[in-house]
Symmetry: C2
Subunit: 330 residues, 2 copies
Amino acid sequence: MIKIALDMMGSDFGAVEFIKGIKMYLAENKEVQFICCGNKEELKELEGLERVEILPTTEIVPMKTDVLKFLRMKDSSMYRALELVKEGTCQGLVTAGSTGGFLAGSTLMLKNVKGVNRAGFCAPFPTAIKGKQTCILDIGASNTNTGEELVTFAKLGSIYAKEILHIASPSVYLLSNGAEEGKGLEETKEAYEILSNQSDVNFLGNVEARDCLDGHHDVIVSTGYPGNIFLKATEGCAMMMNGMIKKAFKRNLLSKIAYLFAKKGFVEMKETMDYRKTGGAILLGINGVAIKTHGNSDAKFFYYSMDLAYRMIKADIVSKIGEAFKDEKR
Amino acid sequence: MIKIALDMMGSDFGAVEFIKGIKMYLAENKEVQFICCGNKEELKELEGLERVEILPTTEIVPMKTDVLKFLRMKDSSMYRALELVKEGTCQGLVTAGSTGGFLAGSTLMLKNVKGVNRAGFCAPFPTAIKGKQTCILDIGASNTNTGEELVTFAKLGSIYAKEILHIASPSVYLLSNGAEEGKGLEETKEAYEILSNQSDVNFLGNVEARDCLDGHHDVIVSTGYPGNIFLKATEGCAMMMNGMIKKAFKRNLLSKIAYLFAKKGFVEMKETMDYRKTGGAILLGINGVAIKTHGNSDAKFFYYSMDLAYRMIKADIVSKIGEAFKDEKR
């Protein structure tokens, strides 16, 4: 039986969507058990469900949290969920709560896998090719990173793509301001040099931000700050354009009829770009499976997050990372 | 009479589209004169045109150019165009050629305005609000910048928005990984501190990448590397989604009819997002008006670029920058 801790607080919609997602997932997967941390009242609906345990907590980690603040909130749903992983009761957790709290808490409480110099916050993105994902890390666990840390991210992303996305030899690229060698930050150039002289990952050079989501790049490595800018620039642009498409179809009766005629294609587009199916962002390189979904996740997104946690635990990804880094002197 | 140097080489389509754009623009603006630098054969069509002078050149600056390479190409169209500005024959130039060559050449040959510690490469973006632009700088003249350089960018962008976009008191933001104070790179935090204690620009805090193009931010300041990532991430996402929209409408006969019904709204969307109307990217803070358009610019884009150069010269923006920076100790 696989046991996953769920931080039920911190979602924009309270626990309602999370609970729906849990019910959907339990109906499909008989091999999973949940410990749900959160406000007792809000979780009433889960009482008596098979394979669900409730762990009542009293605090919620606020959106803006620093490390010290987080560590004082010992009865928060997020702290308790992390504790369950730390003590080995659960093998992973899912949260929609504070990103700052999640990153600080996961790193401090679960600690890096031996040999990993820096954990990487990894976002799988949907791409132009339906069903094909691209993993980008780091998307903001750090601001800056050394060249060696970028090499670590390359290895972590590669293991993820291999074990979870089942790509035999994932292609790995460095995000840069030009595709040719010699472009980018000093640390990018340093990582380029190291990656060119190793055989652990299938390193294929630099990639520019405009090509990242074409579906032909499996793993893309970046320092945290530009990675975060990439994530949010893409998110903002997609939101803006989706809003414009909606507006164009809602213009008048004729355009509304047009939507009915063109619906199939636009549903296909929506499905291709559906980031909920990626399951959320993952902190890779720590002792446990730790997944952060959007604050505004709906039941479907939570469903995919729990499934991702399940698949990562099932694939024993933490041990595989340990194996890959066992010879690093740290 | 306003004189503008045109680097006619380096566009993906040869000089064809540029020439079309020149003819369009000359017909509308009787106060402008062009000196066209380029291959004599390619420019034959311009011979005998009123207010057009041809300056034959023999070399083309290749896409990948470093400073030394550029400086040796004294008979390249780009070098000659810059020379015309340097010697005062022209007040500005437009090029669709190598970005590396453009940045190196403009900075070295035209030099920074007195008091400007770093020129900023500024891209005006279309936003969700039709006709409303957001200026983002630096988008890649530098990789990294100091806090003080970011303050310079804030002033430069503010002058541009005031003089060229006619915004009385442009709102200025720092691009960061969180909207609250204290987020971002060390240099962002340093700039935040300085900008909070001055009255030259209307500084309103940090902005996240996802909100940059909502139409409510006039000037957004970033170090060059993440600025470049933002530019290209947005470009890539918009291209991807435009491709998907096209595909959705081309699916079958019914969807093709749907396009006819919904056309007005989608034309409106296209117009709102039309980056050609921004005129291209501008290197701000040097002694001359220097505009870089896309390598794949069409006649319309060139038209807007020449108009932007004209308006910047007409507004005497270089003198205004000089005035604003005259008390800087440099």
